[in-house]
Symmetry: C2
């Protein structure tokens, strides 16, 4: 079976697996100083944003990723108030964070303002919270932002970046994690998207090592399905200054005042169960 | 990005999503009285068997499916002794079942003997247990086999079939489930592959209804990643005569005497956590 030119296809570099969506009509394309951004309308997954040919999100399945990057970290921290998102330009993670009533300020440091402007235009439902008075937008280098941030000024850092290549490579390194530790208050934690457990277990393993090198006491990975990312299986990795990542505010998660489609207290606990092959890779 | 003719592509019918594997060199193709079977060698997922254009398995990721179809059911039943597999011609599920030392007899009813003969040739590691004296092979219609089977003669039935269309359609219906109930001993249970929770939640919902109509007291679905099946996320559904599917022999699973790559006691418990969107679809 061969696909005609109306399919959008993403090939996972070096992995020999590809995912395609039917009837992708290109609505927009531009080259920014950082990357190539494209927007498509697809037949069955709604709208699609791609950066440098990689799917960032589709209407149909982005809820899993955004919920699983935001809520496990926020319900693990005992009282998250000030949050930083690095990347996250499509604003889906920001929307999830601001569902938590106790958040005081949310700063989003996205290097490419065009990602956010295009999200506002083509994914308005992800940008519903952009005018929330708690949200502030910084368009520039997240690594630099963290370097200049005050010590012990944040509770949670969410790293919602592209793959560890190009502009995002520095976001997967101990030097950066050390700066993050400095700006976190005691008990603070990081959650970072950490790629496919099937295809890129070595990246997750490396992240664990870098987090530990940066002084984080505990590092734990959770997994979730993500149909439009390579292999359909994805992960996020949490790193905590003080450990205790296995505990979370289960009662608060069970009685949260906002709806979610994928996340809930039971899914939170379940997502941290790792299959033996992955546990062995991480322990090696 | 367009894929050249060296990629094997499966399009999920009606779902507008496709999965492709690189450098697929066809080793074998034949049309049997039942279906078209093809074997490929791929660059990064090892060998691939396709039936009527749909991936049945690859070397690289079949472990998840086979473990999650076999072990949750076998560790849920209090003392499984006699097991029937319907379908399962590649013998991967059979191999997992026979890892359990207490199994007395395992009958595999596969409609198409050629699937098993080709698995023996191209996937020898899946067929390692085929000469186990506990294994018996029946090549013919599984529905008919169940109709003729003695009442209360089996403990567990595993339905490892193709999608609910063509020869497998009758395997997703209350009339067949009723016959299964008849041949199960008290406390018996069924586990059946039940498609993608993202793409085919309506099929899972329908299976629950059919199982209940057939008199099963409890029906529960578990999910797992499966990179080479549509959407990369798959499920199995368990139906129990007496309910109690939430309990399982956790201690036995924790101390099992055989290795697994995806399944263990923690993954067993975690796999049954269902996201809110799916719970709501099933409850509607």
């Amino acid at each position: 079976m061969q696909l005609d030119a109306s399919w959008f296809t993403e090939i996972a570099p070096g992995e020999g697996i590809a995912m395609s969506l039917k009837g992708a009509r290109r609505l927009h394309a531009e080259r920014t100083p950082y990357q190539q951004i494209e927007i498509y309308e697809t037949e069955t997954f709604g709208r699609l944003m791609a950066i440098d040919g990689c799917v960032m999100l589709t209407d149909r399945d982005n809820f899993v990723y955004h919920e699983m990057l935001a809520h496990p970290a926020l319900f693990t921290h005992p009282a998250p108030r000030d949050v930083l998102i690095i990347g996250g330009g499509d604003c889906g993670t920001l929307r999830e964070v601001l569902k938590h009533a106790d958040i005081g300020t949310l700063i989003q440091a996205e290097i490419d303002e065009r990602v956010t402007r295009l999200a506002e235009q083509y994914f308005p439902e992800l940008c519903q919270a952009n005018h929330d008075p708690r949200a502030r937008f910084y368009f520039g280098d997240g690594i630099q932002w963290v370097k200049e941030a005050a010590t012990a000024s944040l509770d949670v850092i969410l790293i919602d970046s592209t793959d560890p290549a190009g502009p995002a490579a520095g976001l997967f390194a101990a030097a950066f994690y050390k700066e993050c530790r400095r700006v976190l208050r005691p008990g603070g934690l990081i959650a970072q998207q950490s790629e496919s457990p099937l295809l890129y277990a070595h990246i997750i393993k490396n992240m664990h090592a870098e987090f530990r090198q940066a002084g984080f006491a505990e590092v734990r990975t959770l997994t979730f399905p993500q149909a439009t990312y390579p292999s359909g299986w994805w992960s996020a990795t949490l790193a905590g200054e003080h450990g205790k990542l296995a505990d979370f505010r289960r009662g608060d998660a069970e009685h949260k005042a906002f709806p979610t489609l994928y996340y809930d207290a039971a899914m939170h606990a379940a997502a941290f169960a790792l299959p033996p092959f992955l546990r062995e890779t991480l322990a090696r």
